[in-house]
Amino acid sequence: MSDRLAALLRPAALGTLAGLVVLAALPFYLTDFWLLTGLFAMAAALGAIGLNLLSGTTGQLSLGHSFFLAVGAYGYIWFAGDDGRSGTHDVTGLGLPTPIALVAAVLLAGVMGGLFSPISGRLRGMYLGVATLALVFIGEHVMNNATTVTGGYNGRAAEPMTFFGFTLTDREPHLEVLGIEFGAYERLWYLALVLLVVGVVVARNLLRGRPGRALGAVRDSEIAAAVMGVPVARYRSAAFVVSSMYAGLAGVLLALVFGRVIPDYFGLALSIDYLAMIVIGGLGSVGGAVAGAAFVTVLPQLFAHYAGALPLVTATGTDGIGPQEASRYLYGAAIVLVLLFSPGGLAGLARRTAAPRRRAAGHGATSRPRTKEPQGADT
């Protein structure tokens, strides 16, 4: 009993718990602007965890991540939507209950990832990256032309998530908690937080268990992995499926946050953003992927919001360097600094700052046998 209590009181576990409490409390303090930025960051974190499993852990470069995000987003819209009209196009839909549509969209993204696995099984490194590039262009064409599903250029509205009559919108029912009006973004925040926690726990367990070690072995040397009895082809395609499902989930969340999804969003630039997230966060680390997603999503907004207060930065719409331009310079500089001083990304930075402290604290934390605690208990 006291052992378990001690495990719970470990600084790392407590830190995580404190982080969760802070995240859960944020809707009471943040304005819509910051809530929305946070929601985008959480959706990006889910997508980044997926890409990290694929590219960081298994070493399969993918530029097609935005395609799987789109599959998730439009999949959800189609599964949950009804027949009707969007812009100048007639659209169809299955009209499924929204939680089922969410699961179905994630599975659909997984199936698409599985369908791509014959290709990913035959190509390596840069060649695979270029092959996945094709997905982005195919996706662009399909999104603009499969109008009955996507609504074409105009995009299509996403059905708001509903749990037994409780919708994640501004109304129905009207909700006030401790004097704060709970609108769509506040409600979505908790859905996103739950999904993110589940996503992190699943990914951690996956990486710490047998599959994670197998995937790491595949990345380092396929021959060595095969010699040790790892079915390389199966693990490579499994990584693609799981990664696509994470992207699909992120896509569903994005669809819910946007309210209306347009094809323009899911371009090559989005895929590159996700690659940036996992590189900045630190390849192969789940926490790093989340931190990288927050870095890439929140930092430009933070800079753009406060750059106006910097010297030499002029108000938006006037001559000179505007906040948006200034934020790009600052953001670019931040990326270079992180990669220059911590090649392991944000995760490497955290490890390095944590390590000396642990040593100073004595043997306790580091030499503690980890086998006793249940897997992933410290998330």
Binding site: F28, L36, T88, L178, G322
Partner: protein, 430 residues
């Protein structure tokens, strides 16, 4: 293990947090963070005007969601400058309703995510949005705009944006514009029944909308259309032009951006395929004069919802040109200046009308806007906003290129509509 001092600190932080969460938060109720949400008291400088979010006793805040760092930055810059010029002049003359008009400019860089956060940031603080660049951005935000009831003037003219209660296309839509232009092309090329005309258009909302107009006009004239669909990012027009040349077209219509119109002029010239070309005003930019001035002067006609900025017969336009250059020396006088000034003018007139009706709330502004049936901004045509299902005007100007003139364009035919324009059925939107 005995908890160390670090652990204790974490415990304290946790406990403190738990307490703060349950205590009262400092976050304002977001529904009235608009500033001045209460009707102004009688006797205040605003008199008895009813006000809502975005309007205080001394200021009227209007939103501008522009692209100042992305692909449409040149357009966004000109539009923003022109609107600034208009509202500076209004403020210098005492403002509207005794209040100063303040522009709240946000740059979205043509990114859907940034646009949504920017919209969320300003939507509670403004009475309306007098500029929104990018049809993809507008369509992405349209449900929220309708819900919030913010009068919004997009810098995009697809007829798919019609039919909305508060989103107002500011001029003739692309399809009607090209129907008018087609008549000029058929008259001057000339095109006879049985001839072929080539249509190069981008695979997006703009191109698709324009293609509807071309199809309609060509059918009426008995002319067949040879389509060449291109991607908005394409810049090499050789393949498209070669295909049209081998198809034997008598003229080419280009519904694309300056990035494509320039190459089309250059390629047709070098291939000895010197046929007349018709384009939309959004397809021209003065920068093109550096690469293709001669072929454009000889063969390019532009159908435009606004007159050329060099027009000397319209005093308001001439004044705009000189005022703009005085305020922003060295800027180019592109059509973005005209359309920005026109949008600001519409918004300004609506604010004045809402003030006269004693209701400067969002609803009051929309109501005042819908009552405008003959708005004349001195641009040579009247705008009718009473129906949201129709463009405010069916009239367009025909412009030609003349590099010696400011902005590089001259008006060759004043505002007019062709007989067939009104019988064209606008695409049904849902």
């Amino acid at each position: 293990m005995k908890p160390g001092s670090g652990t204790r600190a974490v415990c304290a932080v946790l406990a403190a947090l738990a307490l703060t969460v349950t205590a009262c938060s400092t976050k304002d109720d977001k529904k009235d963070d608009g500033g001045g949400a209460n009707p102004s008291a009688p006797g205040s400088p605003g008199g008895k005007v009813k006000t809502g979010p975005g309007v205080t006793d001394t200021e009227i805040h209007i939103g501008e969601l522009s692209d100042l760092s992305g692909p449409y930055a040149p357009l966004g810059k000109s539009v923003t400058n022109a609107e600034q010029l208009y509202f500076d002049q209004i403020n210098a003359a005492g403002g509207i309703c005794g209040r100063k008009v303040v522009m709240d400019v946000k740059d979205h860089g043509y990114d859907a995510q940034k646009a949504r956060t920017a919209y969320t940031e300003i939507s509670g603080k403004v009475v309306g949005i007098s500029q929104m660049v990018g049809s993809a951005i507008v369509t992405q935000l349209q449900d929220d705009i309708e819900r919030d009831g913010l009068l919004t003037l997009p810098q995009a003219w697809a007829s798919t944006l019609l039919g909305k209660k508060v989103i107002q296309v500011t001029a003739t839509t692309y399809d009607v514009e090209i129907i008018n232009g087609f008549e000029y092309l058929a008259r001057t090329a000339p095109l006879a029944s049985g001839d072929k005309v080539g249509h190069i258009y981008t695979d997006d909302e703009f191109g698709a909308n324009s293609a509807l107009g071309v199809k309609y006009a060509a059918q009426a004239a008995g002319v067949s259309v040879v389509d060449q669909k291109i991607k908005p990012t394409d810049q090499d027009m050789t393949a498209a032009v070669t295909a049209l040349k081998s198809a034997g077209v008598k003229a080419i219509i280009v519904s694309a951006s300056p990035r494509q119109v320039g190459p089309v002029m250059v390629v047709t010239e070098s291939a000895g395929f010197k046929v007349p070309v018709l384009s939309h005003s959004v397809g021209f930019h003065p920068q093109l004069l550096a690469v293709a001035a001669a072929p454009m002067e000889a063969r390019l006609a532009i159908t435009s919802p606004v007159p050329a900025i060099s027009s000397t017969d319209l005093p308001a336009v001439a004044k705009l040109g000189s005022d703009y250059l005085a305020k922003f020396p060295g800027s180019s006088l592109d059509q973005g200046v005209m359309s920005g000034y026109a949008a600001a003018g519409i918004f300004g007139e609506d604010l004045k009308a809402a003030c006269a009706a004693g209701d400067l709330t969002r609803e009051g502004l929309v109501a005042a806007h819908r009552k405008q049936t003959g708005m004349d901004l001195g641009l040579g045509l009247k705008l009718d906003f009473s129906s949201n299902a129709k463009p405010p005007s069916y009239q367009t100007f025909i412009l030609k290129v003349d590099k010696s003139k400011p902005g590089g364009l001259v008006t060759v035919e004043p505002a007019h509509e062709v007989p067939g324009a009104k019988s064209y059925t606008l695409p049904k939107t849902g």
